[in-house]
Symmetry: C2
């Protein structure tokens, strides 16, 4: 009996020790609700999730891969994941079959709803950290759209010094989020404000205004598409006819094509090519991050966008920067789509910068890296 | 048998009719994820909630009162609540014992976590709707706090015309959220931008800058309180020594006490009295919405805040506006606390404006109404 008690005491002590190690080794994620200790990121990038739910029957964490949580005697459910790749990931708590939010996490508009998120530190994360440099501001701007007959919102980054230099005018980058995200994505998930603040402080980027628009726009009078088509998508029209004039009126912009860029991620990349390639008199810079021009399989790139690429020399002379990027770990379909587009541009003699983000997927780390590069190339 | 079939057909027809009526009569809440049809608000302010969860065992909507949802054959769970009072309410979806978010709702930082919310239209809601008037901007500002050794964030409202009049200076209202909320609350839940835009457009409020700060501040070097005390709470110090100088440097403020106001709701109201009453040389306007000065039961108000109220005449001459408000449907303890404070001020001869918001609880509708009044009283 003594032996058994000693064994039990030993097991408990080991258990306590193991728990203590887990607790001291992990660091609360920066994406947690302030003060929440979990999720915790371990040194090898495994993540410990923890949810209090004494009455639950089954809980899972869905981080693309689904992990079953296990309940302890005090009503807490926990799970430790496999190592998670660096950068920001949306995730869900699946409770009773409902994909919803982890109460310990901040929420982020992604996947077409408010989702939990976790940001795994990157070795190379210095460029998107807040530092002791001059900071820009993110401004929320509301305006009425006659085209869509609705109030819309944009987030606008003004660079450090904007208010202190009331005569100075700035170039403008229109920067779009992806499908299922909104105008908050680039600042909140993307850290675009810190990326720009730091680049500008180092003299690596020209101070610029960055406009992040809602992105979804349908014509309320258009017949509803029964084929899932884009007939009622009027985003390019809203951007060019309403947003740009509103921004040029409300902010001290340099309102000419040589000082106007556009870029976007995923859906926003497609929107960027859709908008700029049909308005080449208004944009001198094009960026597509994990989303670029749409080419039908086997289609001739020289026929695309009303033949804008049929004369490579003329196009190259007209455009200052065309930028295309993709993560090496993106889904096959996305990688081959963007890489194929890059090859088609290459073959057609269209000058462009092509970048592959090593080890990152169809996620924000690919797009933070892309923005860091792109912002350093434009307005030079 | 025929009779039974006829009865069944009749019941099904009635059911379909009832369902059709429910569906056509309801209006998607403005707080839904764009495009989501549920929650729907019925004309009598009952709310229909609907969640897809084919595998769930038990789902509830927690809107202070808990409602059990019922599953239909297609895997959708629905419930229709009793009539809900006008204004904004936080709510939870309880899935498998976890209080979490309704995937169809936007989320709002409240209750110390990201919560779902529903905004029931008010008869008198015109004053917080976006209109075709000049609009201010909400700006997100990051700054490092030496006192708390951490990055902090404030949301700053700049009034219409701020950028167009680069020499003009403005008075500043410091406006604080409640416990479990953050710097986003006043703009997102409170609609403070539209309230100010509309008041300014009608000439009922002086154009002003409004600063909404994070609100939580603890001294990292202070010993951790073991009694739940406020010893490490350094918010008043952060506001006065760090936030005000930062705002006066970054924005074109009128940096004197006659052009500086403070107000807050609930916890923010207590913080307002705590900050202003100990810094009367810095503020000429005080507002407490559902939260005001703290008086111990039976305590003499003339002893409070180092005797600042011992000379009513001197205080009345010094301060331009003291404002205290409460909703008539607030919990007894809160109502008697604020109402008792109002009576103590009255008895001590301290001039102040006292307002009871009819029919509203310890919620945003009380505070929207209070801000509408308070913003019209200050800086005159």
């Amino acid at each position: 009996m003594k032996k058994i008690i000693a064994l039990l005491v030993g097991m408990v002590a080991l258990g306590v020790q193991a728990q203590a190690q887990t607790q001291t080794a992990g660091v609360p994620a920066s994406t947690n609700i302030p003060g929440q200790k979990y999720p915790q990121i371990l040194p090898d990038n495994r993540v410990v999730f923890r949810v209090k739910a004494p009455d639950a029957r089954k809980l899972q964490i869905d981080l693309v891969k689904k992990y079953d949580m296990v309940k302890d005697t005090s009503g807490f459910w926990t799970v430790t994941t496999e190592p998670v790749v660096e950068g920001f990931h949306y995730y869900s708590l699946i409770a009773d079959g409902v994909a919803t939010c982890d109460p310990s996490s901040q929420t982020f508009y992604g996947m077409g709803r408010m989702a939990s998120g976790i940001d795994i530190p990157d070795k190379d994360m210095d460029y998107y950290q807040p530092k002791n440099v001059a900071h820009g501001q993110i401004r929320s701007v509301n305006y009425y759209s006659e085209i869509t007959k609705a109030w819309r919102r944009a987030n606008v980054y003004t660079p450090p010094g904007y208010d202190e230099s009331p005569k100075k005018r700035y170039p403008v980058l229109y920067l779009q989020h992806g499908s299922g995200e909104d105008e908050t994505g680039w600042a909140t998930q993307g850290k675009m404000d810190f990326i720009l603040d730091n680049l500008i402080a180092e003299g690596k980027a020209t101070p610029m205004i960055v406009v992040m628009e809602r992105g979804y726009a349908t014509n309320p009078t258009a017949p509803v598409s029964t084929t899932g088509g884009m007939a009622s998508n009027v985003f390019p029209e809203v951007l060019v006819k309403e947003v740009i004039p509103m921004i040029d009126k409300s902010f001290r912009t340099l309102a000419d094509r040589n000082d106007r860029a556009m870029a976007g991620l995923s859906m926003g990349g497609f929107q960027t090519f859709q908008t700029t390639m049909t308005n080449l008199d208004k944009f001198a810079y094009i960026g597509g991050f994990s989303g670029a021009g749409r080419l039908q399989p086997g289609a001739d790139i020289k026929q695309a966008y009303d033949g804008a690429w049929s004369d490579a020399d003329a196009f190259n002379k007209k455009m200052k920067v065309v930028y295309v990027s993709i993560g090496t770990k993106e889904p096959e379909r996305m990688y081959t789509g963007v890489n194929g587009f890059h090859q088609a541009l290459e073959k057609a003699g269209i000058k462009h910068v092509y970048y592959e983000s090593p080890g990152t997927a169809h996620e924000w780390q690919t797009w933070r890296r892309s923005l860091r590069q792109y912002a350093g190339l434009i307005f030079k």
